[in-house]
């Protein structure tokens, strides 16, 4: 089924991670950038914010879609998403970087995005004509 999808979307739930790391926006940005590079992604831009009293939200926009992280240090919990398209992406490598960096326990769910879209008629010419 996967070959009929346009994107792979990994949903990572991480518990029991180091709360100080989960509250360090700079360290988390470096970790997600490292994960993006490990996945052969082309990084376009990253945006990370620390919230008071604690917690970090971060997004790495890549040419192949995105990585996001939201942390609740007080619960030692992080929610990470890796959304990619393109056959050259190595999502497993990105997951390994994140797992090694954050520690704790990880539950992983993969969702195929755009499933079945390729069965519909592709219409590149109609779009080109309008540009």
């Amino acid at each position: 089924m996967r070959e009929q999808a346009l994107g792979r979307h990994l949903i990572l739930e991480i518990w029991d991670a180091d709360p100080h790391l989960l509250d360090d926006a700079h360290a988390l940005e470096q970790l997600l950038l490292q994960a993006a590079r490990a996945a052969n992604a082309t990084v376009i831009q990253s945006v990370f914010h620390h919230f008071n009293p604690y917690g970090v939200s971060g997004v790495v926009v890549i040419a192949e879609s995105h990585l996001t992280i939201h942390t609740w240090p007080e619960y030692r919990y992080a929610a990470i998403d890796i959304f990619t398209c393109g056959p050259k992406m190595d999502l497993e490598a990105a997951v390994e970087v994140i797992a090694a960096g954050l520690g704790g326990r990880m539950v992983q769910l993969e969702i195929s995005r755009g499933q079945g879209v390729r069965r519909a008629q592709r219409q590149p010419l109609a779009l080109s004509a309008a540009q």
Copy 2:
């Protein structure tokens, strides 16, 4: 179950949308910002990119997490995620704005993030002591 989760994550699959709108980074940015406002979100930053020959990736970072969109205009398809935390968020209002703006057909999936985390011991003091 939902009250035990830290975040609500809506996954939207949209087919048969207007391909010209799906290729218009500025219009999509305005639409997602409008959706964020409708959901009572506090917008921190938005990043939108148009890809050649077509397609848009966009992220709206909100204080309550994020909205993302990735489009394949040649397939009339868009993948949208709305990730929020906080009881004041009105996700349904955001979905209404997006559905009205993009048209087409939408399939919606909701995932509870951080499910069961609140059952673990919250540790705010340990974190505060380290800051």
